[in-house]
């Protein structure tokens, strides 16, 4: 367990529903092992939303598959623990792991059409797990299915449980996915890009629904997304991932006010908006391939504040302010430097983040 990460994730309340510590995942490829996630730690508390932000290939989805025990056969966890209500899931057999997750952690995927079986009715799929695991009768199962669809505000639920996934619109399908995730009353819901395939007006509906359900049941919600707008709208805490690592972890408000990692700062700046009609500030280059990770800080080839030390040394996690971490040699400088709008960011007290 990396002490700096742990100390920084959140005020030291110990009632984490899900705690991931120093997780590392490798993929076997013909050219050798490739590290997709490297030393990721986070905790999810009841009633709070953790957003994991990153681009494709940042390891944000792979890490959640590892938590669920759903990694493909070519991948394996090489390090770390995943504690669910105090027990380490990774110490269990794969079967036990999945069974535990099935009960307490549920997952919602981006592509609801692919995640639902086209040849079964929606009602059948909603209650399949319930009938198998809890031995519900047909009638009870049907009642429960209607309840679940009502909960996710699918109109006319009684009739619609008899329909098939293709008869639902994109937004409605995502609601069905959420309903089936809620069927087992999970403590933690992991939503992997749940609204990416949806239109903005429908996205707003689904995000609002998730927030309502979460508040009502005091669930822990892990929201995996690439959309910083969505993060700002719903998250309490944010983990920014880049090239398999958590480069910055912070509560949402200070993160947006004063990002402590150059990658976060650059991401926030690169969001197109009205503010400028000129050239968008962009991050040059592209994310490194996990097979060819640059030496030193993985972000240094694209960083606008790169210095010599970045090219050779992997930055240790710094704590630029209370409750925040940043994997940057100059985290404190970044935070106090010019903010995303070109004006000085909110100054966080330097707590010895400069590890040079």
């Amino acid at each position: 367990m990396s002490p700096a990460m742990n100390a920084a994730t959140s005020p030291a309340s110990s009632d984490a529903l899900l705690e991931v510590t120093d997780l590392a995942v490798e993929f076997r490829t013909p050219d050798g092992a490739v590290r997709a996630v490297d030393g990721l730690s986070y905790r999810v508390e009841a009633g709070r939303t953790l957003a994991i932000v990153g681009e494709s290939g940042s390891g944000k989805s792979v890490s959640s598959l590892a938590v669920m025990g759903l990694l493909p056969d070519t991948a394996r966890v090489t390090r770390g623990t995943v504690h669910l209500a105090g027990t380490d899931l990774l110490a269990m057999s794969r079967k036990e792991h999945r069974a535990r997750c099935g009960d307490q952690v549920a997952m919602v995927f981006q592509d609801a059409l692919a995640a639902l079986n086209p040849v079964h009715t929606v009602g059948y799929q909603l209650t399949e797990a319930l009938r198998a695991r809890r031995g519900l009768s047909r009638g009870d199962a049907r009642r429960r299915a209607v309840e679940l669809l009502d909960m996710v505000k699918v109109p006319n639920a009684k009739a619609r449980i008899k329909e098939y996934p293709h008869q639902f619109s994109g937004g409605m399908r995502q609601r069905v996915m959420i309903a089936s995730a809620l069927a087992m009353d999970p403590d933690v819901l992991i939503a992997d890009e749940p609204t990416t395939a949806l239109d903005v007006t429908v996205q707003a509906q689904v995000l609002r629904l998730l927030a309502e359900i979460q508040a009502e049941r005091q669930m822990g919600l892990v929201l995996i997304t690439h959309d910083l707008g969505v993060v700002a709208g719903v998250a309490d805490d944010v983990t920014v991932m880049y090239a398999g690592r958590a480069v910055e972890q912070a509560p949402v408000v200070p993160l947006y006010a004063a990002p402590a990692h150059p990658y976060t700062r650059a991401l926030l700046r690169s969001i197109p908006s009205a503010s400028g009609t000129g050239s968008l500030p962009v991050i040059p280059g592209r994310p490194p391939s996990p097979a060819a990770m640059p030496a030193g800080c993985p972000f240094h080839p694209r960083c606008d504040a790169v210095r010599d030390v970045c090219r050779t040394e992997v930055p240790p996690p710094a704590t630029p302010a209370e409750g925040r971490t940043s994997a940057c040699h100059f985290a404190a400088d970044t935070m106090t430097g010019p903010g995303p709008d070109g004006e000085p960011g909110v100054v966080g007290r330097d707590t010895g983040g400069d590890h040079e």
């Binding site: 109109p155 007006t201 429908v202 995000l207 947006y256 690169s270 197109p272 694209r302 709008d341």
Partner: protein, 398 residues
């Protein structure tokens, strides 16, 4: 923008594209998907027209009709004043050189079995064009123009990242020196950090080559950044159109307002999905220029857009409109059998009679809007709503 000859390079008049829906054993078409249902547009030289709308709004169909992949059911498409829907086969082929398309998905829009040199050079092969200096040199120049290394011309698409592939797609579209580029969601499949690079490239190319863009996207932030004018589509029609600043800052159509307010803002002080939902009225001050906006919640529309096979009568938006049921005109005459509730989610939606009887025309609303229709402006701000009025919606900006 600094082009010597101003005026429309592309004009669309009453364009209609219906797809027949075969039904029954005899496969007779009894209905039609009204994908594009009477659209008029105008794109000026060197400018960018943003076309926004949700999936199913017909924006992609419109793009496909404009580049000639689909034939319109009726209406006119004028490129430099010539109606291309009435052209002969050869004439259409000639037109295709003027209007080119950039596709959404850089992973499927490039043939995986062709090297990049062939992909970018294919327009030359198809049109039998031999550029000065030879095709190989021309391909190299195109690759350089879009910021790729000409040395990589012999690589295959899978050897490039998403952003680089999109550059290849842009290079292919530019090969025949088109006047108009129709960009169908050109950045939505790309990573955030790469989107900006492609948008900047498109802007640079516009300045350099004097291109006109029809920029189709669902990301309102991207459109706001790149477009000069914006048209908002709903169910195959344009519901609002005008200069970018007007449409975004002084939207008049309730759909545009809802769309804008639903865009997630990268500012944690604007909570998109706060669990506490206030009634809409308290957050929206109709006709005022202050009050709503930052700190206010989003207008969340109910349900999904209706099917374009059977669009609602009158105003196509009236079934989801948040404004109509709240208007005083929506109150019916007191009839004894009148149901006690008129909440929009109670199964009965009351909207002003005119909304479900008459389709609103796309006209300027002089009373509304910050500036109103300025005389001599390149495009007036118009909205297709019987009750169009300005509403200061939460902004789409950082």
């Amino acid at each position: 923008m600094s082009e010597p000859e101003a005026g429309p390079v592309l004009e669309v008049r009453d364009l209609v594209k219906h797809y027949p829906v075969p039904r029954g054993v005899l496969r007779r078409s009894t209905g039609a998907v009204k994908a594009v249902d009477g659209i008029s547009l105008r794109l000026d030289r060197g400018r960018t027209l943003g076309l926004v709308g949700e999936s199913g709004s017909g924006k992609s169909t419109l793009a496909r009709v404009l580049v000639g992949i689909e034939k319109p059911t009726s209406g006119e498409v004028l490129v430099d004043g010539a109606d291309v829907t009435r052209l002969s086969r050869a004439g259409r082929k000639r037109l295709r050189r003027d209007v080119q398309m950039v596709f959404q998905d850089p992973y499927t829009s490039l043939n995986p079995r062709m090297p990049v040199s062939e992909i970018v050079g294919e327009p030359f092969a198809i049109h039998g064009v031999d550029p000065a200096g030879g095709r190989r040199a021309a391909v190299g120049e195109l690759l350089e123009l879009v910021g790729l290394d000409p040395e990589h011309a012999n690589r295959y698409p899978h050897q490039f990242s998403g952003g680089q592939r999109q550059r290849v797609g842009i290079a292919r579209a530019l090969a025949l020196r088109p006047k108009i580029l129709v960009c169908d969601e050109p950045v939505s499949a790309l990573d955030v950090s790469v989107q900006g690079q492609v948008i900047n490239l498109l802007e640079d190319l516009q300045a350099e080559l004097g291109l006109s863009y029809l920029f189709v996207a669902h990301d309102l932030g991207v459109v706001r950044h790149i477009a000069h004018d914006v048209a908002v589509m709903y169910l195959g029609r344009i519901v609002e159109q005008g200069p970018e600043a007007e449409v975004y800052d002084a939207a008049q159509h309730p759909y545009t307002q809802a769309l804008l307010s639903a865009v997630p803002v990268p500012d944690p002080s604007v909570r998109l999905a706060g669990p506490s939902v206030e009634p809409v009225e308290t957050r929206i001050s109709i006709g005022s220029t202050s009050g709503v906006g930052v700190g206010g919640g989003a207008i969340v529309l109910d349900g999904d857009p209706p099917s374009p096979v059977d669009p609602p009568s009158g105003c196509p938006f009236h079934t989801r409109c948040w404004l109509a049921p709240r208007l005083p005109e929506a109150r019916p005459d007191p009839i004894p059998s009148y149901p006690p509730t008129d909440r929009p989610d109670a199964g009965l939606r009351l909207v002003p009679p005119v909304c479900d009887k008459e389709a609103p025309a796309l006209v300027a609303h002089p009373g509304a809007g910050r500036a109103g229709p300025a005389i001599g402006a390149p495009a007036a701000h118009v909205a297709a709503c019987h009750f169009a009025r300005e509403l200061v919606a939460p902004r789409v900006e950082a």
